[in-house]
Symmetry: C2
Subunit: 406 residues, 2 copies
Amino acid sequence: MQRNKNIAKLQMGYLFPEIGRRRRALLEKNPSAKIISLGIGNTTEPLTPHIVDGLKSAAVGLGTIEGYSGYDDDAKGQRLLQNLKEKLAEKWYSANVRPEEIFISDGAKCDCGRLQVLFGCDVSIAVQDPAYPVYVDGSVIVGASGGYNQEKALFDGIAYMRCIPENDFFPDLTRLPRTDLIYFCSPNNPTGAVSSKEQLERLIKFAQGNESIIIFDAAYSAFIHDRSFPRSIFEIAGSRSVALEVNSFSKSIGYTGVRLGWTVVPDELRYSDGSPVAGDWSRITSTLFNGASNIAQYGALAALDDEGLKEMQKTVDYYMENARIIKQGLTDLGIRSYGGVNSPYVWAQFPGKQSWDVFSTILEKAHVVTTPGSGFGPSGEGFIRFSAFGHREDVREAVARLKRTL
Amino acid sequence: MQRNKNIAKLQMGYLFPEIGRRRRALLEKNPSAKIISLGIGNTTEPLTPHIVDGLKSAAVGLGTIEGYSGYDDDAKGQRLLQNLKEKLAEKWYSANVRPEEIFISDGAKCDCGRLQVLFGCDVSIAVQDPAYPVYVDGSVIVGASGGYNQEKALFDGIAYMRCIPENDFFPDLTRLPRTDLIYFCSPNNPTGAVSSKEQLERLIKFAQGNESIIIFDAAYSAFIHDRSFPRSIFEIAGSRSVALEVNSFSKSIGYTGVRLGWTVVPDELRYSDGSPVAGDWSRITSTLFNGASNIAQYGALAALDDEGLKEMQKTVDYYMENARIIKQGLTDLGIRSYGGVNSPYVWAQFPGKQSWDVFSTILEKAHVVTTPGSGFGPSGEGFIRFSAFGHREDVREAVARLKRTL
């Protein structure tokens, strides 16, 4: 039985496990080190009371004949799903999308994986560089890339769209080849950049001209407070025939461990034979997936009513105050940074240095875990990502340590 | 943008959506029909009190700083996962597998999908015929099959292992070609057959001789009450180097909507290059998946302590009494049936008839939803699957209606 040759193409461990290994290595050397993590984008603050109430009553309800539901295609499961889709369409999308275009899932990362299976191995793809590793790794796994090019530190057969300070973290579309798929994330992980309406309009035109499909990752859209920036690709005219959107409750309400997300596939999104992408997506999700946890869904329903939305805003504000503190600290240190204003990620620039070296210096001197920018793609080299997810006192302490040791 | 050619190979809708469509069609024609479903294997009984307590305290805990956890690789998430794996290794596997060989997931169906991505498109596969549709459909989606053969009503390039009453629902291994993967489900969905120790020993030998990997689906193992039948492939000597096992909390504790399952990948399971399958599986799950809901995990932990295990047995016994009632009803009608003794499925034989015709007759005359055997593969033709998942009074009423109308 041969090993899958596509998986053999993958490099090293997935970025975050590798960071975990280095962190454990430090702890072995220095068991008393009080490590603070501003690395992985993992939420740290408790779920808020109204959402907890939603989860609790869901659990209690499942213990009764009236409240029990099984697979999401039974009557109660369908009603729950329908309510959630309607609330999302109304509260999140201001009716820019219809409830039946929303597919509820166990998270944006998992949906990315299924999208890669949906489109298969015969597609060409473009990703922002730097980008969330799952777009590339998942594409490699399904066979949609060539091999790893050691010299260039990237995969052959994938178009890397350079996003750097010099181009305002928006790719130069005039120099890009046509691809079937374009992964695009705004607010961006890892750079923290958020694309303007005008930039997204250019992206949509580009996709229209090339008959490409944009996989728009809006997992951080709740962190946009300057509403002149679009929170959804579907705020842009013409998007419905060239884009789908992935989103998540993970960061906005602290659901990283509870698991819930969704994908919007507009009816107008079609393959070249005219068949709807949503039809195949529905087939993929009903064959390879079995619905998101009903308890998680009840909690999200609570999160989308007036009280829940207020709590969501408080959670977002908490992390954004962390981002402000990190950004200020870096500025005080004379380190230039990007992002962190409409996004929970701060992208710090260390000109002329290697990301993993800076990562190791910060880890060993300050006992602060960050994420090396080069782990997100070659254009991330020389950058470090600071995540604003953390307890306030830890963020303050981390910044104080950076000031003492860097 | 071309449609994925592998998805285009799939036939009709996935079996259960098609049944749903026929059911809705009946309701449109006859809106007052009180339809009883013994079709899809969807649980109907409330979660039991101790498990509800586990879920409730998980929800409450997530609302506190001490109890909150995010992604399952943070300290609290890791501890929870570790506890669950240890409990499963001890209580479910009597230490036949080690905790670190257990990978917790959001369900067996979802893990089957990821396993198909793991092994990729260059593998040959064998499935029992009839079988749970996900093995075939998922393999088709990743490109591991040929096209659909209308004449034979099966996919080219897949070995269908005939399981019929004449061979005690165990395939004639001497007539089977070598394949890379062998999907094998016991207790079987849909036939309700459970394989003996001696049969599984033959299967293991066959896999050893062919260097095949067995994907053993044990999702219904909790329903085996005659413990002379193995509940896990890992009770069989030699299995660890040729098999992995998929399992689920869906049916045993009513978690179909809560979502939790697991896959065991033994350390000895290796590719021909000597590399461990578990290594790639770990990479796949960390790239395309983001952990099972922590709330669901806390509930499952409760289900695996002494009180929880007692409740699980009660839930299983409830459904098995339903199976007994269905089987008795069929016997009274002179209809021969299989399964339903160590499995919640009763496999009823209608010699000389077409499954979908019998399905429609039962639906239209008795307003009872079943599942047509042919939907599970060509050797299911002439059979109907009755699911024992239902409220007792509905099961009794369904049987009474069958007796009145057939």
